[in-house]
């Protein structure tokens, strides 16, 4: 089983559109794992059936029981996260700031604080309209712990791929280089980078690559919207060569990407001339993974 993790550093370079196009080409050869749990979009193109859903609990949240609290203030003094607030006369927990460390509970002299499991999102397994398996999730509003939810999505996708003998997993990753990205990278063997020829695209790429190297994953790169700045595209070609990273394709800007999105379709379902290019990309990736 091969895992293809799609990352970009910068947001909005086209990760989800390209991942969905590859998914529609690969059909039941792939399990798709939407690991952008913070702002997942894959379901908008693939119309999954949400046939399995489960609450996702992660971490803890402190709760102060006012009837036991003598307002000694020790918890406020010890909390490093400014998560305990005085509202009028009462001490309260600010759920957004609470990290769930439990220090306040440990030191409260009257045991007036308890730690409760925290519901932080939902987790789904679906069959999509084009018959792939999609493992996805949604993080609750303002919740933390996205890295753990990403890990859960990935591990379920792997289980399904193994048990149903599906050869590929396509992981649609989050932007950035922080905890959900690191979680998406854990155990990855191959990363497909989608960048764009802008100064920020390049800067973010240069921060992403050392992170991927740290995980010893192989990588290849696609430059999306490659014609918006030809000289920046050339700069990326040179950089990839120098870094010894396989350059798979330049995809020119095409408003059909957006028009197909509005229709809820992937670009390969629209008869766009880019379809042929995406077929080649998928073939190249499969070849690359064979070696």
């Amino acid at each position: 089983m091969n895992e293809i993790v799609i990352l970009s550093g910068k947001g909005g370079t086209g990760k989800t559109s390209i991942a969905a196009a590859l998914a529609s080409l690969a059909g039941n050869e792939v399990v798709i794992a939407d690991c952008d749990v913070d702002a997942s979009n894959m379901h908008l193109l693939l119309q999954p059936d949400f046939h399995f859903s489960e609450d996702f609990y992660s971490g803890h949240l402190a709760r102060i029981h006012p009837e036991k609290c003598m307002k000694c203030g020790l918890c406020i003094m010890k909390c490093r996260f400014e998560a305990i607030i005085l509202t009028g006369d009462d001490y309260m927990i600010d759920p957004v700031s609470c990290e769930g460390c439990g220090y306040c509970q440990m030191i409260c002299p009257l045991q007036a604080i308890s730690m409760e499991e925290r519901l932080s999102g939902k987790f789904y397994i679906s069959r999509t309209r084009i018959n792939n398996v999609l493992v996805h999730a949604s993080l609750d509003i303002a919740a933390g712990n996205s890295g753990k939810l990403v890990a859960k999505v990935k591990s379920e996708a792997r289980k399904i791929a193994v048990s149903e003998h599906i050869p590929f997993i396509i992981v649609d990753g989050p932007p950035g280089i922080g905890c959900p990205v690191i979680s998406s990278l854990a155990g990855a063997t191959f990363v497909l980078i989608i960048t764009e020829p802008t100064v920020s695209g390049i800067h973010d790429l240069e921060r992403l690559i050392p992170l991927i190297r740290h995980f010893r994953a192989r990588m290849a790169c696609i430059i999306n919207k490659s014609d918006i700045n030809i000289s920046k595209t050339k700069e990326i070609h040179d950089y990839l060569k120098q870094q010894n990273i396989l350059h798979i394709a330049d995809i020119p800007y095409d408003s059909l990407f957006m028009e197909s999105m509005v229709k809820g379709l992937t670009i390969t379902e629209t008869g766009s001339p880019l379809s042929g290019q995406l077929v080649n990309i998928w073939t190249t990736i499969k070849e690359f993974l064979k070696n």
């Binding site: 947001g11 702002a39 979009n41 490093r80 919740a143 950035g176």
Partner: protein, 293 residues
């Protein structure tokens, strides 16, 4: 520190990545700083890009740290208090030694402060760097997370602390936030009096705009939308804003000129007037904004 009602602290956030936060933050900062002393803070610490557009003279540079436990073997009695108290499993006893997993540590200090024999002290570990620049009327703060560091939130908090202590009195403050609607975005909007959500009128854009709007509502902050690439996609974003009484401050049409200038690292403002109507509308709105003290 009490914040005067005359100070406008505006977070620029988005939900979806790549909708134009950096484009708007940097150009708005350039536009407003012509008339008012302005502060721009790049809080997208995982991928901070504002500095590619805003130059300036470096004023200071500061290494930022988080604190992680450091085990002192000679004082340890192996009572297991540290590992019992850590809910993140960041400190464990393995045979005759105590092992710390830095990346799991949330710096709550429980292991250190509750250790009965003083065998665990907290030591600093670099998480990133903050730099401060000045160009004309614009002060610019840039924070950059170390590659491999998982947690962006502590660096965002440290940066905001610095802003509060040192540049908190500038009348217009713009905070360029990380994408998403979860903890990094929440941390970055924490000090803001008002949030501008930059969105694009596509299905992905609307979906993520709704997520970000729910987060901002939950935080109890007033907010408005700016629609970027407004002539693409369809009308559902604007309809959603109208139905939900979310003010649309301005619309920025798609333009090859904007894309080209942005791709090269140039500000649009001052080089081409295509964004000016939108920037001026947003700037006026911010200046005239009445905030509840």
């Amino acid at each position: 520190m009490a914040v005067s009602a005359d100070i406008k602290r505006i977070a620029i956030a988005s939900g979806k990545g790549g909708t134009g936060k950096t484009l708007l933050s940097t150009n708005l900062a350039a536009c407003i700083s012509r008339s008012y002393p302005t502060l721009l803070v790049d809080l997208d610490v995982e991928e901070p890009d504002d500095f590619l557009f805003i130059g300036g003279v470096l004023q200071k540079s500061l290494v930022q740290y988080k604190f992680i436990p450091d085990w002192n073997e000679t004082q340890c009695t192996f009572c297991d208090s540290c590992s019992d108290h850590c809910r993140f499993h960041a400190i464990l006893r393995l045979g005759e030694s105590i092992v710390v997993f830095n990346e799991l540590c949330h710096s709550c200090f429980a292991c250190s402060e509750l250790c009965p024999s003083g065998a665990i002290r907290m030591k600093p570990q670099k998480i990133g760097e903050t730099k401060e620049f000045v160009t004309g009327n614009l002060r610019f703060i840039h924070s950059c997370l170390e590659i491999g560091e998982e947690q962006a939130v502590p660096l965002i908090h440290k940066t905001l602390q610095l802003v509060r202590n040192q540049t908190g009195n500038l009348p217009v403050q713009l905070y360029d936030c990380p994408p998403g609607a979860s903890c990094p975005m929440v941390a970055a909007t924490k000090d803001a009096d008002f949030v501008i959500l930059v969105a694009e009128p596509t299905p992905f854009g609307i979906h993520d705009f709704m997520l970000a709007a729910s987060t901002v509502r939950m935080l109890g902050k007033p907010f408005a939308a700016v629609i970027n690439r407004s002539d693409m996609g369809d009308d559902s974003l604007e309809d959603y804003c109208n139905t939900g009484n979310i003010p649309v401050l301005a619309k920025i049409p798609f333009s090859n000129k904007i894309s080209k200038l942005y791709s090269e690292g140039s500000l649009v403002f001052g080089n081409c007037d295509v964004m000016n109507p939108a920037l001026e509308k947003i700037a006026d709105y911010i200046i005239q904004l009445k905030l509840n003290p």
